[in-house]
């Protein structure tokens, strides 16, 4: 399936019944797909008049305890930030997908990873976090989409999945689970606005005029984020071994380009490992520290399709114990494996190339 269709179908399989959207390249196929499929499963497909409308529809629908989501791309996600902050404040489970394109502003329509800071550090106002997941294959996009709904319910918090344009547009074979039944979904008896007959009415809001009340709400949220950091760190290692002298940190499809470069260098006798964060918030700080501070690692190279947004988190994780270098392209330019190889060899210095020549005989 095409990435955008697979994301749409995965949401249906996860039991999503409400999808609100406003079209934007490169993810409009999600809406096209769901315009056909949502009515087939008895769900709601609604195209709003703008991303502002869509994000506030999410607030309303999420309040009912149904599984709700939207998909958009960078400029559209910017427009949704206010409601995302509101939903975090009101503790509403919602899934948001950002198929990133080059920015800032209207930017372009080709793949980029330049919304890393927006996704992981807020984007909207207030003391809140969004749980962020980043797939590198279409199968992983399916798996993380389903996980995103579970985590949104577990924490009653917005969960964002970010993929660059290629995740949305490319085709790969996928396996999908059966659609889960509503009875299998977590209970929302305790909080959702499902009709107040026979019980006290519930008010779902992010407004707390009493400062102590607001501080209390923020502290409740803060405890949730600490729990996410304890329980939801996800990452993958590729060809990490005691032979490595360099560790790459890269996520999403950029990590796959790094894998091709790593494979080719392996044939040339240069051993490099890859640390791929899957959860971007919580960021696998301790795990990166552990890998980066191993004796054999001389330096860490962060590779992104941005000017180095994730590098700040990598530097923080490594805590100055090893040099952290950066390579990236942005604006929709996707580095080729050859570019990555060149950067790796540059960072590793002349010794790597001596070894490389020797191994070539």
């Amino acid at each position: 399936m095409k990435g955008n269709e697979a994301i749409a179908e995965a949401a249906l399989r996860a039991g999503a019944t409400n999808y609100f959207c406003y079209p934007i390249t490169p993810q409009s196929e999600v809406a096209e797909y769901l315009a056909r499929r949502m009515p087939e499963v008895g769900g709601v497909f609604l195209q709003g008049e703008s991303e502002l409308a869509v994000s506030n529809m999410l607030f309303g629908a999420a309040s009912t305890g149904k599984r709700v989501f939207t998909t958009s791309s960078s400029p559209g996600i910017s427009l949704m930030q206010e409601a995302i902050s509101y939903m975090a404040g009101a503790e509403l489970p919602v899934v948001i997908v950002n198929i990133m394109r080059g920015g800032p502003g209207l930017g372009g329509i080709l793949p980029a990873q330049s919304d890393y800071n927006q996704a992981t550090k807020g984007g909207g106002h207030g003391d809140y976090r969004v749980l962020v997941l980043a797939p590198s294959t279409i199968q992983e996009a399916v798996d993380l989409m389903i996980l995103a709904f579970d985590l949104a319910d577990k924490y009653r918090n917005p969960v964002m999945m970010i993929g660059d344009g290629m995740i949305g547009q490319m085709m790969e074979a996928v396996e999908l689970p059966e659609r889960c039944r509503e009875s299998e979904l977590p209970s929302n008896d305790e909080w959702a606005a499902t009709g107040a007959k026979g019980r006290e009415p519930r008010i779902i809001k992010s407004l707390f005029l009493d400062p102590v009340g607001l501080e209390n709400n923020v502290l409740i949220l803060h405890e949730k984020y600490k729990r996410m950091i304890r329980e939801e760190v996800r990452f993958e290692l590729y060809k990490v071994s005691p032979e490595n002298r360099l560790m790459i940190v890269s996520y999403g499809t950029m990590a796959r380009i790094c894998q091709t470069a790593i494979d080719e260098l392996e044939h040339e006798g240069v051993s490099v490992g890859l640390f791929r964060p899957v959860s971007l918030f919580p960021f696998p700080e301790n795990e990166i520290f552990k890998e980066a501070t191993k004796k054999n690692i001389r330096s860490v190279l962060t590779i992104e399709m941005s000017t180095g947004q994730m590098m700040d988190d990598v530097q923080k994780a490594v805590m100055g114990k090893k040099p952290v270098k950066f390579y990236g392209r942005t604006g929709g330019v996707v580095p080729a494996p050859e570019d990555v190889k060149e950067q790796i060899l540059k960072v590793m210095g002349p010794k790597s190339s001596t070894r490389r020549k020797k191994s070539r005989g």
Binding site: G108, G165, M171, P337
Partner: protein
Amino acid sequence: MNISRPPTFAKDIIVIVGGYGSGKSEVAVNLSRHLVVSQSQPVTIADLDIVNPYFRSREAAARLKQLGIRAINPTGGQFYADLPIVLPEIKGAIEYRVGKLILDVGGDDAGARVLSSLADSFVAGSYEMLLVLNASRPFTSDVEGCLKMIREIESSSRLTFTGIIANTHLMEDTTARIVLDGLKLTREVSDRAGVPVVFLSALTEVLATVETSTLEAPVLALERMLLKPWEEKTADPDNEDSRESDA
């Protein structure tokens, strides 16, 4: 050894349409290459995909140029756009054709709508409009779905199908079974729609596992020309640098 015949075309204009992700662009660029190699006629390919900005035939432009194929694509910043740009050269190429002209059209009825703006330039009986059918895709996995797509594309394009290309695949997970099951479905669709299966296309390495002599259809062996960045070997001239310089 597998013996199969390659596709041949009496008509000069070949319009390639189909569902999103059916493999239209890959088939179109491979067909262009096949025609330029096998026939002593000039070949032109025009990218008419105005609904989707990724993995279009224009990405193989540098490679096609090397093969001596004329590629009509938007230039400059428009190269990367998904704006409804129909170059006047395309209308010119349809009306005053030289050799073979292949039109690579965008997906579904939405992508085929662009043809309606050119429909008056087409002379009935002078063109082939071929549906690229991938039975592994969600909306063309059964006969009814395929017939619906045929109806929708004919309605939005104001043109009539003349044939079907059996191009069932699951990317790198394609097996001989998948290709043959896809051909079976394509034949059923062909019978119901009343248009022939013009050829079967599949990756060369997959075709090596299929007894092609028994297929009773011409066969086009595909070499992947529209690659994902991590699939590009480092010595490949067809990387983004060549794409940039071409734009």
